[in-house]
């Protein structure tokens, strides 16, 4: 790894005919951190990543690696490693040949091919034709391609898709390790929960527009807390809580009191002399916040 750069997306727009796939999108991705690039399917994540990698031409704006566009990079595979969704391999070519071709084109030592094959756990299948690979094995080969040039920047599109639980655990620790080495890591997903454990920052888009960008912690600031409470005499409990000024919503398994902690609800019931049968704090969770952000844009 020689060349660590930021990823700078500046007011990038892509229109396909009359449809805007990505609309004036701007964000920056920092080195030494794992950044989740999130949004529902069709939000424009893959289009954005392909514009970043010079595969799709933006209608307007610029996506660069520290000011240099991908096509102008001196040695692209040594600077940026990319694994795109629908990772594309010739079915009749072996994994080793596939990587050797890329290594030849980029002046990367052949020994590095064996290194990355071992790293992603494909060494024993390296000479098999890719046509017989499972989705998980293709994902691993895509990752091997991304790591081939020992790049300072990694761009991974839905790398967790198709991996088994063991593979998911492995890739999470790999992402952490790559960022810990100081690399810039951008990883896309349509599920926050999939990457929640490994990302430091999040960039969330919906319908091609940025809806949130910041640290993962900044996302939980928007969390709403509520309490589920129930009593044998539910009507009396509802009256007591309403009288105490709380917003009460009846639910199937009790009453939901919004914007309050459990101890306050318990005290109100205690003061009113109502015995409780249930008292539970409920957090909406990051996934709900994420969904709310994404839905709010519709």
């Amino acid at each position: 790894m020689t060349d660590v750069r930021t990823i700078d997306v500046e007011a990038v727009t892509k229109r396909f005919g009359a449809v805007s796939a990505v609309d004036a999108l701007s964000f920056q991705v920092q080195p030494g951190r794992v950044t989740g690039f999130l949004g529902p399917n069709g939000a424009g994540k893959t289009t954005t990543l392909r514009m970043l990698l010079g595969l799709v031409r933006p209608t307007a704006g610029r996506a660069t690696f520290g000011g240099v566009s991908y096509t102008d990079l001196e040695s692209p595979l040594r600077t940026v490693g990319a694994a795109l969704e629908a990772a594309s391999f010739h079915p009749g070519r072996s994994a080793r040949s596939h990587l050797r071709i890329a290594a030849t084109a980029s002046d990367i030592a052949r020994s590095r091919v064996d290194e990355v094959l071992a790293l992603v756990g494909l060494a024993e299948f390296a000479d098999r034709r890719v046509g017989g690979y499972s989705l998980g094995m293709r994902q691993r080969l895509g990752l091997a391609f991304a790591l081939l040039g020992d790049p300072g920047v990694l761009v991974l599109d839905e790398p967790i898709n198709g991996l088994d639980p063991e593979g998911i655990k492995w890739i999470r620790s790999l992402l952490r390790a790559l960022a810990a080495e100081g690399r810039t890591v951008l990883v896309s997903s349509h599920l926050l929960s999939e990457v929640q454990q490994s990302v430091d920052d999040v960039v969330i888009i919906a319908r091609g527009v940025l809806v949130h960008s910041g640290t993962l912690a900044s996302l939980s600031a928007g969390d709403s807390v509520s309490v589920l409470v129930d009593a044998p005499d539910r009507g009396a409990l509802a009256d007591a809580l309403t009288a105490a000024g709380y917003a009460v919503t009846p639910a199937r398994s009790g009453l939901i009191v919004a914007g309050v902690e459990a101890d306050a609800v318990g005290r109100t019931a205690f003061d009113a002399g109502i015995p409780l049968s249930a008292l539970q704090r409920q957090s909406s969770g990051l996934e709900d916040t994420f969904l709310h952000l994404v839905e709010g844009n519709r």
Binding site: L55, Y70, L84, F89, R100, I101, A105
Partner: protein
């Protein structure tokens, strides 16, 4: 090593690491061998009166050896075209343009490298075709004690022109594949044009002088002119063909025009 040399090496490896090239080479070899051997034996038998009811000297053998040897390109040219076209359309079909352009973002360089590599493979196909046509043709002629003309410099000059023609045909394939990126469509076009459309047009050329003037510039006619002899020339005598070097220029121009059109259109498209 320069980026262009590296790209050429990578493009060469793309051909050699899948089975397509040797499958096509094998079919070329068997096809040309059986045609030149079979027709060589038929003509040989005819000229020596070995056929039932025949008499000696019934069919003249003048020009027979080069005709048989030219099967390498006059019959085999469809194979380098297919190899060239598939070298481009295969990348589109299997979405390998993504890793290709990630490794070499300068797309024009990739197409230029493909052109260079396929000129080489086309020449190789030319040599394979010649081994088959000479093996089959000369073998059959020798059987009937007809001069194989392998000692003549003219014959060897023709071999060189066959190799050149096959190399240019592979380049035409690259151009065609870069314009028509759909794999099925390109195969249909190659087969239909080479096996049906051009033969029909060239037959029509016999009808009038002005048609013949146009038809001479069709790629197959240009290739036959370059090689200097072909089945077609024998079937439609009297039709003036181009000089050999003009034939080479026509093929080169067709390959260049197609490749430039492809480079400016489909090759610049978004890779999604």
């Amino acid at each position: 090593m320069s980026t262009f040399m590296r790209t050429i090496r990578a493009e060469t490896a793309k051909i050699t690491t899948t089975r397509m090239w040797w499958v096509l080479a094998l079919v070329l070899f068997v096809y040309v061998l059986s045609l030149s051997g079979g027709l060589g034996a038929l003509f040989g038998a005819g000229s020596t009166g070995s056929l039932p009811g025949g008499t000696t000297g019934e069919i003249p053998t003048t020009g027979l050896p080069p005709l048989l040897y030219s099967f390498a390109s006059s019959v085999g040219y469809v194979f380098p075209v297919l190899l060239g076209a598939l070298a481009v359309t295969g990348e589109v079909r299997h979405q390998t343009l993504t890793p290709t352009f990630l490794a070499t973002p300068r797309r024009g360089l990739v197409l230029a490298a493909k052109l260079v590599v396929l000129l080489g493979f086309g020449a190789l196909f030319g040599i394979i075709g010649l081994v088959a046509s000479v093996g089959g043709g000369a073998g059959a002629l020798a059987l009937f004690d007809i001069d194989t003309e392998l000692g003549s410099t003219d014959t060897w000059a023709m071999f060189a022109r066959v190799v050149l023609a096959m190399a240019l045909w592979a380049a035409v394939g690259i151009g065609l594949g870069s314009v028509v990126t759909n794999q099925v469509a390109v195969i249909v076009i190659v087969i239909a044009f080479t096996q049906f459309v051009e033969p029909v047009l060239r037959s029509v050329g016999a009808l009038a002088e002005w048609i013949a003037d146009i038809v001479r510039f069709l790629p197959g006619a240009a290739s036959d002119a370059l090689v200097g002899t072909s089945v077609f020339g024998m079937m439609a005598p009297g039709q003036e063909s181009l000089d050999w070097w003009v034939g080479a220029l026509v093929l080169t121009a067709i390959a260049a025009a197609l490749t430039i059109i492809g480079a400016l259109t489909t090759w610049r498209r978004d890779v999604t």
